[in-house]
Symmetry: D2
Subunit: 289 residues, 4 copies
Amino acid sequence: MTTYEDTTARLLVKCPDKPGLVAAVSSFFFHHGSNITAFDQHSSAAEGGTFFLRLEFQTPHLDLGRAHLERAFAQAVAAPYNMDYRISYAAEPKKMALLVSKVDHALQEILWRWTRGEMPAEITMVISNHPDLRAAVEAFDVPFHHVPVTKETKREAEDRILGLLEGQADVVVLARYMQILTGEFVKHYPNRIVNIHHSFLPAFIGANPYRQAAERGVKLIGATAHYVTEDLDMGPIIEQDVIRVTHRLDVATLKELGCDIERNVLARAVKWHLEDRVLVHEGKTVVFN
Amino acid sequence: MTTYEDTTARLLVKCPDKPGLVAAVSSFFFHHGSNITAFDQHSSAAEGGTFFLRLEFQTPHLDLGRAHLERAFAQAVAAPYNMDYRISYAAEPKKMALLVSKVDHALQEILWRWTRGEMPAEITMVISNHPDLRAAVEAFDVPFHHVPVTKETKREAEDRILGLLEGQADVVVLARYMQILTGEFVKHYPNRIVNIHHSFLPAFIGANPYRQAAERGVKLIGATAHYVTEDLDMGPIIEQDVIRVTHRLDVATLKELGCDIERNVLARAVKWHLEDRVLVHEGKTVVFN
Amino acid sequence: MTTYEDTTARLLVKCPDKPGLVAAVSSFFFHHGSNITAFDQHSSAAEGGTFFLRLEFQTPHLDLGRAHLERAFAQAVAAPYNMDYRISYAAEPKKMALLVSKVDHALQEILWRWTRGEMPAEITMVISNHPDLRAAVEAFDVPFHHVPVTKETKREAEDRILGLLEGQADVVVLARYMQILTGEFVKHYPNRIVNIHHSFLPAFIGANPYRQAAERGVKLIGATAHYVTEDLDMGPIIEQDVIRVTHRLDVATLKELGCDIERNVLARAVKWHLEDRVLVHEGKTVVFN
Amino acid sequence: MTTYEDTTARLLVKCPDKPGLVAAVSSFFFHHGSNITAFDQHSSAAEGGTFFLRLEFQTPHLDLGRAHLERAFAQAVAAPYNMDYRISYAAEPKKMALLVSKVDHALQEILWRWTRGEMPAEITMVISNHPDLRAAVEAFDVPFHHVPVTKETKREAEDRILGLLEGQADVVVLARYMQILTGEFVKHYPNRIVNIHHSFLPAFIGANPYRQAAERGVKLIGATAHYVTEDLDMGPIIEQDVIRVTHRLDVATLKELGCDIERNVLARAVKWHLEDRVLVHEGKTVVFN
């Protein structure tokens, strides 16, 4: 983890593993005058696997402007190695929209960390299917949109949300948004919708996980942050955590502890996404943290 | 937790919750000259629930011998409150038998802690469906019995095991015993067979949990110690734990880490059982630790 | 942990250990018509030690009013056993004042949990030696007092604070208050001032613990909540926690992680104090949680 | 972490940070036909800091033999960048000697993991100042040497130990060796003697840390693995861990829990050292794990 310097840029790469990849990438940046200040790599298999790379490079002494640099990288490195990649700049934080229903702990945690400078994003809006949290959101000087949803109006509601998000959201965070998004909606933001699920997935998929947990008598309860896919609760897991519980705790206390894990797990996952630390491959994530 | 003094006895109680229970139990021991040195209670509900109690009392100044004391308790306290209870004495540790197959980490951990005085039990035997661990077990001066099992001979094998256990086992520990016990067998030791499952139940029920975990891309792997019931992997959970994993770890390392959790979780669960800290109620445990 | 029912009362006891204590206390409440719904005890030694007790009892069916009950308990139980004790009622939450300087994470956490109903207290005021957090505090409808402190005015400032607290504070929480309180001040609130120290005490006593930790190269950083005594950083520890750190983390990130532990550790310690779960004996705490 | 393939080699580098380092190293291995399968780097500061690198490379397709490769690397890369470096080969595991006194938990853990293939070392001997553990060690087919130490014979004893170690120890592990080594001795194995200290350093430096911890009333106890330097308990920390404790635990149980942390922390630290994951710089470690 590093602080957000305006001069830092990040490269994320996914491609078939081949000899020479590290040399090709590092030489490119060296020859263009950029110092590499962080470097993480991973291969999914000893041979014939997929190669993942994240690097942070410094822009001040680059001999090319951004557009030229990106074109040069595409030609000289990305094309020959068949890379899926993206470059981002700390000086241009991602636009982030939050969806929420009535409970506010996950939302508050992210807004609060954001005001402290711990979330490198431009928060463009909060959208809710309930009006309850308007004042809490507006206290942070963040626009609040109330978009009610019923069974009958789900399609129109999603269209309205998509309209609000248009051009305003590089990432969408579901901070305990209690509506299930349609596959249609999800397709607009592949691996860019982060959700918090209030259980240690894949245990207790579905509704009422705390009640399920209490009935099964587990000794740890957890939370899972994942990217949303069309399959409910099956998206790539970004982060998870658990906390020890005992027979002494009543359901109210379980929920209280659960909320604490949820907000911390979601905050970490969102931060890692914003810092371009998460790559998705075959339904799983590589997290360079 | 306390050290094992020869003069300590323990009472475990389960009964319908009623006013006066604590007073009745504590007065009984006080009036018979016994000091209460540990006391834990739990009620499953504010009203009309089930009451659970564990207490440790000292025997030196008792005004009655064991048999008389137990009869007096039965009449004066247990009967009027309709108690399900048992009394045990630290001076008479439980007889424990271990079942194992080929992998030895869980077995070694328990034998090793036992030699260090951390497991208050008399280990009467190790039974295995493979001959591989004979030397390792006999090095601890513990009898080893090889009882092969095939699909065809399962019933006979279980009978042979039951024969070996007869009178020699207050508790049976499955230290990675890779055979599924029949309901018939389990009935002989209700809530007295402790198993270690190599996942965070209820996630990854069934075979190959590490492979399932790797495929799902979870960020924590775990282990679960539970009492064996007729329903596979559904018995009351005694203890669970997890460890953080990353994309960097290959399957061999995952298994290595998994073994570490398994042996620690099983050791804790067995120790708590031996110290009469675990009560079972409606498929869940109350663990006074 | 239990939810805060208006009908719950709590008894905290410290006294020389003697046979019959549990029986005496539990019989007293039973005979006066009160059901005991939680019961924790501890003895500091097998013989001749100190006995600690916390119990929760229900008030609706008591056969005596509060004043009579307390007098009866004093005579019938507390006096003969030489008890140091207190009784409190969930219906009358403690008055809590917070002292803070400029950084707000610990304060925000407590205020936020309080608004969610997780902190059973009446927050009467926030006092700060800086004006910066006035708006943030008043947004929670909590009175804010600015009491500047300089080397020369320390005594007067403390007098002013004592004046503000008079009758308004059963407990005082230092939520990162960067002034050292004098022994004079502390004497007014023995074992009733809770502080959060940003290290795993007793490591890194004194100033700049994060820098000390970075220089020593520790692999875990922590926080400690303790009661304030005249000896700086030496008061009874209520709660501690740590988080794993690596060489990869810069000082800014260390502080960020440190803030997270601090606010969680302080929140837990304050909650336990408010629920009468903490007893102090010979510079250490017994925490019944 | 990776499994130990005979074809894996590792490079560890420490040098002044300069642009082009990553490119120079990675290009070198690429041009000599070696695939890089793991790559970790760290800079101690954004500018003008120290650069640390660990990489794993595969040897089968190298176009040079070992001696030639190392000479080529020295000339082409190490010299121009002023590198402090070492290359090691998984096919040639380090020679490891263990020093121990009477308690065996740390020793047993390492020997046991070693027999399971989790410790990539050749264990050449165990040396003890007491004869007690001879049988336990020899059961693992490891030579045991008894070298008694008294105040008067300390110098001679260390000389005898150095004689035994000569040519037989790339790393020395103090698995609860209760003698303080002299500076003279330590100089022979700079950053190659791994010790386990039974506290969370820098808390509770010196003797009887568990007693100190109990007296201070800490809520977590820990263990620290570190390289031994002339300053007692001040060497670079490799790994630490803690476990939660409560007032309920007596000293015997504290020690039992402490032993569990000690053996796990030491095992991790030793493994990381054996896998060339630890670099020392200015009294601190960089651990690439």
